[in-house]
Symmetry: C2
Subunit: 447 residues, 2 copies
């Protein structure tokens, strides 16, 4: 790619011919270090889940990726590379205006993944998952969505490949963002609020607990999986948590490193929000690769909401990935499969568990720091960012902004010229109900 | 800028150091051809409006730009250039997927201006207008907005420069897009639905005609101008129609031409939607420059809604720019200052008049073709585009998409490999109420 010769530009883009042609499978390097994740377990037998068992839930190629700890780079299929070119490369942006407003000597960069209609990084995995389903001859897909970014992304991907999509959308998010439903429908998807009466697990949850009425990602996953394993030619696809999703999201980090290399930058700190962990896992991928190889020492900070503090208050142990106990068991940080988070506005972070890969990297100290932040301070950071950088962030992404600002202000105190990179995963165009509450001072830490 | 050596990429970006440093003033070349526009008239004296008179409405530098027909290129202030770098360059996109779906031999390109939080090209002029106001020591700005893109853009710009902004938003748009109001408020603006009781002209309109209740751009302009000329240290800023706005929007066309030059392309057809005419004027600028100079012969097609057919059914004559008759008279295509368009969803195109520059270029045959299209066919084109190109277009922009598709299908009939460029001015994230009506088959030509 062309090197900008003079000073550092506001935005650094790769050229299309420099776009990554393979995803990076971090498990290979974790295994070399003796810290590979432990296998998913079948809750019935407590034995490792087999490829055959997983292939009832996911299409086969994705099930293979889920279990793969031997192929370091996995080629991105040509059709997926072509689709990526419609909205990628995404820019690495130098936050000159934010730096100026903060008066910090730190250099702040963000990788912006929101410039596509799904509004986030979710499309990176959605198009890959839809592609593999199509290639296998699957006709029907089910999924869950919280904030709606994953559901929108998969609607776009399924619309593109002509697949039928059923989305279970967490009720509290569906009700605060009715337009997300319309957007998914515009791409041809069917959207049902979760918990619903369309599944056994949803019905049981409604019967058992009226408190569950606002829903959660864990419940919506249960519903979508139940449909996938009971309907013909149907598979389930998930927007985070899984190894396969982190794999696809490494496109973020590979692009980021290539772009920052081109302007001779290496981050001292890499900051991302974590809900299921996929954007953070993708963002840090190549810098973590360096760290595992002993070639780099970036400081990694994961940020979660105080209202759903999986890693800061949860336990590291085997647990179900869903509330209805229909999925395999994963070893991860968890608040317990039946944890019901408050109906906060960062719907994408309302998940009881955490990616097993991210959990392991935290457990082993390769992710240096996890912080839980409060919703009101997150929206204050979001508004400050929007006013000077011109992008209205998603509430999820604003968790990373909050900590990036905190770190930049520490640099101001200490006069350090650190280089900070954070992940700006998406835009908040469908979160204005929450912004309106913030503007009117009625937003709290829990709703 | 770097030339992509191999084939044509999906997206062609300029490098930041190639970004235009001046806007192009087309009036200079129109004057050379003897087709400069006739002056704005003071309705009281029927004499040409003076700089002094205009300076009561607009800040002085903008008033000068409004009257300027001698400076061919006008330097973009450094602070505006810096702000542009936050969201520009915008890409020229090759619509490979749309071409494939249509089965057309035509090459379709679009200049995409929606990748910023205002959701459209409007920010190009908003930041310039806010800058000149700030530089003059103005503290308060008033404006109108229809669809909300201009209001959002000016909110962002005024937020950036610390100016107080009052927005009159056309009532039917405000009610179908409540989140637009919240977005503007997040950037610090105050939003009032128009017609309102806060101005004499608004109150008179409410008294005179209950039918006017849905509002129009013409009415909202009257209200905003009334406040600007009666409050201290306040000026009015407008998002289209004016010469100054077309001037600022030429950044679109200058960038487009540089990008297409770099891949050795020259469009046979350039297509844009027209409401006030600014995006179309900006997009065609450098290709029209060629045509006026006898150096190029692109075919220009302007597209307007059937529900507000200013150029296809209006008259070319002097008329008020607003409904309340508080503005100067402009020579333009007009349906009459008191024309009240149906409450269609392309709020940005619901204007009785047309840019005097565009009107003149149509009148003199330099714009080759103007077409009026129906709302339902526009949404059908929008949905087709969204599903294959991954971008949900604004209803306004979809007018251009509709005709670009029509033209590409004609090429299929005739086996012509024309090169088509159209302006994709913005995104439809706040237009999902209208998409929902389309999905449910309740959308009509008039609402």
């Amino acid at each position: 790619m062309e090197k900008i010769p003079s000073n550092i530009p506001y935005k650094t883009y790769l050229n299309e011919h420099d776009l990554p042609k393979a995803w990076y499978n971090i498990r290979v390097d974790m295994k070399k270090k003796g810290i590979d994740i432990n296998p998913l377990l079948n809750p019935g037998t407590m034995q490792p889940v087999t490829l055959d068992e997983l292939s009832h839930i996911f299409c086969t190629e994705l099930a293979k990726q889920e279990l793969d700890n031997t192929n370091q780079y996995i080629e991105i299929p040509g059709e997926v590379q072509d689709f990526y070119k419609m909205y990628r490369p995404s820019p690495v942006v130098r936050a000159y205006c934010l730096e100026k407003v903060l008066g910090t000597p730190a250099k702040i960069y963000y990788k912006f993944e929101g410039n596509n209609t799904s509004g986030s990084h979710k499309l990176n995995s959605a198009i890959a998952q839809a592609y593999y389903a199509k290639a296998q001859g699957i006709t029907n897909i089910t999924t869950e969505t919280g904030a709606g970014q994953w559901g929108t992304a998969l609607s776009m991907a399924c619309g593109y490949f002509g697949l039928d999509l059923l989305v279970y959308m967490v009720r509290c998010s569906a009700q605060s963002k009715p337009m997300r439903k319309t957007l998914m429908e515009t791409y041809g998807a069917t959207v049902i609020e979760s918990p619903s009466t369309t599944t056994k697990v949803g019905q049981a949850m409604l019967d058992a607990s009226p408190d569950n009425y606002t829903g959660s990602l864990g419940t919506a996953i249960s519903e979508a999986v139940e449909v996938a394993v009971t309907k013909p030619n149907t598979r389930y696809e998930l927007g985070s948590v899984l190894n396969q999703v982190l794999l696809h999201q490494t496109i973020i980090g590979i692009e980021s490193k290539l772009a920052l290399d081109s302007i001779d930058e290496y981050p001292d700190e890499v900051i991302g929000c974590i809900g299921g962990g996929s954007n953070f896992g993708g963002l840090i991928a190549e810098y973590m690769h360096d760290k595992l190889d002993g070639k780099g020492n970036a400081h990694f900070i994961a940020v979660e909401p105080e209202s759903c503090p999986s890693c800061t208050k949860g336990e590291f142990r085997y647990d179900f990935c869903d509330t209805g106990k229909v999925t395999p068991l994963a070893e991860m940080y968890t608040l317990g499969y039946d944890f019901m988070p408050a109906p906060t506005h960062a719907g994408g972070l309302r998940y009881h568990g955490m990616s097993p890969i991210i959990s392991k990297l935290i457990k082993e100290g390769y992710v240096d720091d996890v912080r839980a932040v409060d919703q009101v301070s997150v929206f204050a950071a979001a508004e400050q960012f929007a006013r000077c950088e011109g992008i209205l962030p998603a509430p999820e992404s604003a968790h990373a902004i909050k900590v990036a600002i905190d770190e930049a202000l520490k640099c101001k105190e200490s006069s350090e010229t650190k280089t900070i990179l954070f992940g700006l995963t998406g835009t908040g165009y469908f979160d204005l109900y929450a912004y309106d509450k913030f503007n009117k001072h009625t937003l709290t830490g829990s709703n």
